[in-house]
Subunit: 358 residues, 4 copies
């Protein structure tokens, strides 16, 4: 069986090296090219010694992409950089999965409201597909350009989509309190990711203005129609990997009636909600509904999203908690899942890792 | 100047050893007695070797309390145990600061709804004062029994009281998303506080039913009148010390008008809210208002509570974030602050520690 | 191709669940039976929720082993418990890999000097083979009972064997300063593995008397003849997984001449030592020689042992540093590697994991 | 009583802010001036928000030193920078405690062999005193320039000095295996101190060539005469603060006889060694001899050095383990202790902190 010929552009960062880890073990993939503008000419395993003896491939310049026979190119590049490559690669034979935020939002105008840059390739938007296969597998299958979701949006959207679609929650007042591991800040050393600023510490950041807010909002509105403005607050955890999102919702009057009617019956409000999620994610291997609140290590180094849903009949709130590994389900693993869908492989191909715990 | 004669009953746990740390450096205090039922007869510094050469005192049985000349007794005991000591000590000359939850709630009936035990000393309730000096210094000054607040309630109430009192927020829909360090679970080894279950990990627990919920609710209602049911969700952080609470509120129509009117003026909504807090906490040394979201290490090993408040005019939500050290401001330091108030010392006496950071 | 039918006895501990993780992804293995005396009847994934949807198998009592068609049984049991199972399984058709220390030492007498128990099955010793395939693949191939090495000995022996065999080091004065992650202490909660006793902390333990000392000594003497008593000091790191051993040796007069003669030549002392290691470990995939001192994360969640060797011509000391994952190369992965050798599979079958880093 | 007027030059780094923490609570000190070339004009508490409300002082340029009435100046500056300030301050009235390595070694020549820089002020050496008060209080008392010891040397020398002076150990073959927290690498963000490179990780660095080697060697030779070359290997721990050094020594024939003669007698070899340490450190509050191997948290945020000594009669090795907080006893606290000695205060003045544990 012929292998899918892949390239990773920007392979030295955290998400880049993570997709190299996954692709190099994928049974149906050939890792044809890995690039880095700043480290071209060096061995990948000299930069990341834990790959020694496993991936001893040389890093090339991205210009090599054009000269290589490829089926799919993964752009593991920062926001604002990817767009130029997508533009440059337009018309090429290969398909693209872009890790950046450059093509995730509905329009260039919205992009420019939240990102500090003028978009260099507005023409790319109409063909870009939001790459969350649990929602959009059909669109992804034939997409030329897949915009791989942000790490926070992945966990938050998976926690919200079933209820948003079901239409039993109030449109207003959605609150997403998220907590992320440090790798989300990237591989470049800074005060933000210094050990002594993070270890035994915890804080919120990006309050009111994190740009994943609009990504979450846009996708959820695509799923279930207009919503009031979503409140999203990220916090920085002293862990390497993982995002846990605690979501607070209120049922609308229909929802409340449905949930409260269940009191004292065979099926509690919690069970009713669980059944909505199970129905929505039927056949989706990577979403696991949990009877207990999930822990980050339950999904570490895997493509799983563990979800817990509950109804508090004292307060009338619905709570959903989701846990993902930000580098896998929140980036590299999700990109490979997208590739699997694009090339009609089994969705789980190359992604059957078991959580490393502890 | 005569020293205050103190005893710590239950000195070997985390909050017990923390108050020993603070009292043994307090300029106006004599640590007359430390007790432990299970370790009586042993040296305190054999159990906690980091006290060697500093506190080389012997642990006694609690029965020794009755035979000792004491001004104040700190009960660093678990819920359900304290009540029997309070009962037994009734009529003694010394005053009591109780770390447990046994006398924090308005009535024994409410206690029994949230704690799994029949209360053995309902007679204690009328005289018990809730020991949060930022709110109740006047009551504390003459109290015979001070119920030292829970760790979560301390951070949450300090974050909410100014706005609840001001009366510009909706009574319904208060959400408190809290994250705590592991010492909150106590010194007894269990699956909950094992290194490999906590390190590089994160999860919610006690969803919907944590008993600090009712403590927060009761105190806030005492401050500002009836509220809708408060949603409180604790999470477990891989850190030793510290609680960070992220609080979500909605202004009522008066509040919203007030906040939105400020748009584009000299004072933003954020500044208006800050001024309410500064007014409320005027002269209260241990509350520090912060321009940026606080981090746990900014208060570590001190009695400070750092508070950040903001208004999101996109969503219409008010957010308050508070950070405390759960063992100090959330327990032992607060107890000493209560003692300072009770004995008319400067509130900060013996509590002038500077955060250990990093 | 027929699969190897395997059982894991004692599957709920750290090494047990780790071998379940590895075996359940091994292309040539069927996980026929998993047991736990204390949790029999429960689902494995209820105890370890991160296996949900992956290993949803029921735990049985160990008595089920006798009634099951098996090729190999892994005993992931504590010291002193394994011996009874080995005794009981004598004469059965399957082969055994024992994780405990019960059959690692040369004789029952030596065992009883270092372990606090009378050995119940001295008859097992003559047939037991020490399961370090880098040294003993030939013996392992046909062994009925493989004594899987201890975690510290694995790292220490791999660091020392090439030089001990080469015979260029002094027999006296070998020092092994080791640092281990917490999972080495097992899954049972205790003061030793409590988060707040380990986090942001570090200490030595078992000074002078850790029983892995004699295991290291015995195997090295088997490799290179009698040695002076080895000094082995373990320390406890605030990490989940991994053992790093820093070994100090002195070359004997031949060695010293050899090393010093190289000064200023093409090949330095360091390079000379490296070439001895490379020769010794030729064709051994899991030993990786490193140009820089290895870090624990370079081997995390894999069966690799990374080794660094150096010669300090100022002091005349040789230093060797080895890094392994104690749960994989130091336990479960090594056990599977032993199985691969026993059943004539490729040594790396089912063990091609890439380090999870960060 | 008049206060000692102090300045901290370079107050924004870890050791600088730590000495600000200590000095601002010292009962006999006035913190007259804090400087930073890069952040002059900013408030100290804007850079380190945990000082808000405690040290709200403005940072000045170092040129301000000359215009200020000062008794002592602390130079918390990097190696190679301090020397220029010491030169420039020559002839001023105040005394200097220098945190850098610039004046710790016996001669400029030795300095230049180990540090990558030509020394700009060789004239400073004759008057510089090595600031370890447990050894050199008499010299420090009248010194104009005190070279504050390096963090590793402090722990290592305190572990070795009593035996080196006693003269019962072999001059050759001293091995110091040290493990340090991350703050030792300074406050500047780099790959070395990034969270994800340190967390859940461990490695050796500076093998064979760390410049603290020569500092340890020089001081020990000053204490006890010529020694063979000392082997010193630092490792990087995933902790903020603390250095634990495990030292391996061999008794000489006199020592061995002494130690082995004690077998079976009232006093074991361990006890004999302990008594040598206790005698040597008589009256030295900050050295605490421990019956059990010390842990880093036993000294955290304090000026203590905990020491454990043992004799292994199986191997004939002496082992000494010392633990310090690298920012306090290994830097800022030690500097204050030096100041106390210089100004004839009680050695412990302003240094009576109790370890923050957990």
């Amino acid at each position: 069986m012929q292998k899918i010929k892949t390239a990773v552009v920007g392979a030295t960062g955290y998400t880049g090296s993570e997709i190299v880890r996954i692709l190099s073990q994928h049974p149906r993939v050939e890792l044809s090219l890995i690039t880095s503008e700043s480290r071209a000419g060096e061995m990948f395993s000299d930069i990341h010694p834990f790959f020694a003896g496993i991936v001893d491939q040389k890093l090339e310049k991205a210009e090599k992409v054009a000269q290589t026979d490829l089926d799919v190119v993964f752009l593991a590049l920062p926001h604002g950089v990817s767009m130029d490559y997508v533009k440059q690669f337009a018309g090429q034979d290969f398909r693209i999965v872009d890790f950046s935020g450059d093509f995730r939002l509905p329009t260039p105008e919205i992009y420019e409201q939240w990102y500090p840059k003028q978009h260099s390739y507005p023409e790319g938007f109409p063909n870009a597909v939001y790459g969350l296969p649990e929602l959009y597998a059909d669109r992804i299958r034939n997409a030329g350009l897949v915009a791989n979701p942000g790490c926070f949006p992945t966990g938050a959207i998976l926690a919200l989509a079933p209820l948003v679609q079901k239409g039993i929650i109030k449109k207003d007042g959605i609150i997403i309190d998220s907590k992320t591991g440090v790798t989300g800040a990237g591989i470049k050393a800074s005060a933000t990711n210094m050990f002594s600023n993070v270890n035994d510490n915890f804080k919120a950041y990006g309050v009111k203005k994190h740009r994943h807010t609009i990504e979450i909002q846009s996708v959820l509105e695509d799923v279930g129609g207009a919503l009031g403005p979503v409140q999203f607050t990220p916090h920085l955890l002293p862990v390497d990997r993982g995002i846990l999102s605690t979501v607070y919702l209120r049922p609308d009057s229909t929802g409340r009636k449905l949930l409260d009617d269940n009191k004292g019956k065979d099926e509690t409000g919690k069970q009713l909600l669980e059944s909505i999620f199970k129905e929505f994610y039927k056949g989706k291997t990577f979403v696991r509904m949990c009877g207990q609140p999930p822990a980050l290590k339950d999904v570490r180094a895997t493509n799983y999203c563990n979800i817990y849903v509950d109804y508090d009949d004292r307060t009338g709130n619905i709570m959903v908690i989701s846990a993902i590994d930000n580098l896998v389900k929140g980036a590299a693993g999700l990109a490979v899942q997208n590739m699997n869908v694009m090339f009609e492989l089994d969705e789980t191909s190359g992604l059957t890792h078991i959580p490393v715990n502890p």
